[in-house]
């Protein structure tokens, strides 16, 4: 396959940045998208040029590190697929492909396609935990959890924290991410105790980290590689309303 790439190149946080054109040859359909970029980078290194910086780690769709907007779609054209799991067979010979970093005020570009997503960590630090006594290992079935609740919590816990939801949202909102964390813990008895405090602290942190609010577009769930549902945002809203009730 021969391709024309337009890749966002930015030397550092203060650089203006620009799209640069690359002609890429001899790509095979069984390569992953990141392997295709590896090939491009080897060519750049051989030519004595700076390779394209992009984030990646597990390359098996579970860590949430890879993060590229491909032709205007976070994680590219395949639904429920992280960039590292995207293969070149999803493209055609002769295609032109635009590759840009996640864009949001809360995600400043560090270099090329790499953005700083620590704002999501700060939302987690504000309340995305449960307080427990340390010590001996608790009895496995000491706290009973219904199958339905366990399923809800597991569905929400699938979030890998990649930030594609923020990249896709016209408001640069982190509601899907935050909602997944709030809903995950609120569904479990261990998380109920701090549920009211948590939803207030985490949504406050979201605002303070520079993310927008939710206008109910649902672009987030459409790009989420893990298929996190926007109904978790409804659950976050429910938890927020409960937290405003007297006695909370």
């Amino acid at each position: 396959m021969d391709l024309t790439l337009y890749v966002w190149r930015q030397k550092g946080p203060d650089d203006q940045g620009r799209l640069e054109e690359y002609q890429v040859k001899a790509i095979t359909p069984d390569m992953s998208f990141l392997e295709m970029l590896d090939v491009v980078n080897e060519g750049l290194i051989r030519a004595g040029k700076e390779p394209i910086a992009f984030d990646h780690d597990c390359r098996e769709g579970i860590c949430g590190t890879c993060s590229q907007v491909i032709n205007g779609m976070p994680h590219g054209p395949r639904e429920k697929t992280a960039v590292c799991q995207l293969h070149m067979r999803s493209f055609r010979d002769g295609d032109t492909i635009y590759i840009e970093p996640w864009r949001a005020r809360a995600f400043p570009v560090i270099k090329d396609l790499i953005v700083d997503r620590s704002a999501l960590d700060r939302i987690m630090q504000s309340g995305g935990y449960v307080s427990v006594h340390t010590g001996g290992v608790p009895d496995a079935n000491a706290v009973l959890i219904s199958k339905a609740d366990a399923d809800t919590a597991m569905d929400a816990a699938e979030c890998i924290g990649c930030g594609a939801c923020v990249a896709a949202c016209p408001n640069g909102s982190a509601m899907l991410f935050t909602a997944a964390k709030v809903a995950h813990l609120a569904a479990l008895p261990q998380g109920r105790t701090e549920a009211a405090r948590r939803v207030c602290l985490m949504t406050e942190a979201m605002l303070k980290q520079g993310f927008g609010s939710c206008s109910n577009h649902y672009e987030c769930q459409a790009v989420c590689p893990k298929g996190i549902s926007a109904t978790f945002i409804a659950k976050l809203n429910r938890e927020f309303i409960k937290a405003q009730m007297p006695g909370q």
């Binding site: 949001a104 005020r105 459409a222």
Partner: protein, 223 residues
Amino acid sequence: MNMLESSVGRKLVMSVTGLSMIAFVLVHLLGNTTLFYGPDGINAYAEALHRFGALVWAFRLLLLTVLLLHVFYGIQLTLENRAAKPRAYAIKSSRATTLAGRSMVWSGLLIGGFIFFHLLHFTLQLINPELAAGRHFDSLGRPDVFMMVVLSFRKMPVSLLYLGALAALGLHLMHSLQGAVQTLGLNNERTLPKVMKAGVLAAILIFLGYAAFPITVFTGLLR
């Protein structure tokens, strides 16, 4: 953080004020259907409403407060959301956003402008004073609202203006009916897709319901 500082809290205000206005829009629509019963319908209805006297004004003030809250937070949230996305993609494709959803603040501002005109037109009756119901009375001595509405809508620019404003309202509601349900946290996996469809359908019905007045008058079906 205070609820009115939180972005989730302010969205709740948007939702509650929006739904209150929708309730008004529905009641107003129902009341207006008395137009189809001729002067005896709407003139009697208008007179009956005005018997509430001071209550009418209390209600108007309440509605104005609701509207101002909605407009204030709507503009504030929109500005915040734009600032949170300072840079656009060179190429943007989307899977879920709609024109209605992306133009909420514009459809809203058009509605706001229209509400201003509508109040001058049929409430204060300053736009066409020669048709003012406050100056013309029917055979039973009631302000002739029927005549005012019918003669106004016979004018093409007036009818078109009302239809345009109704289109803006329809667009606003196409996105916001489902949005308000979601903001209030009332969705689950089963309801979300249905609420989204029902919201669009209800918005279209509200549009058609109101559009019936200028259309039937202008085409001469109602005279």
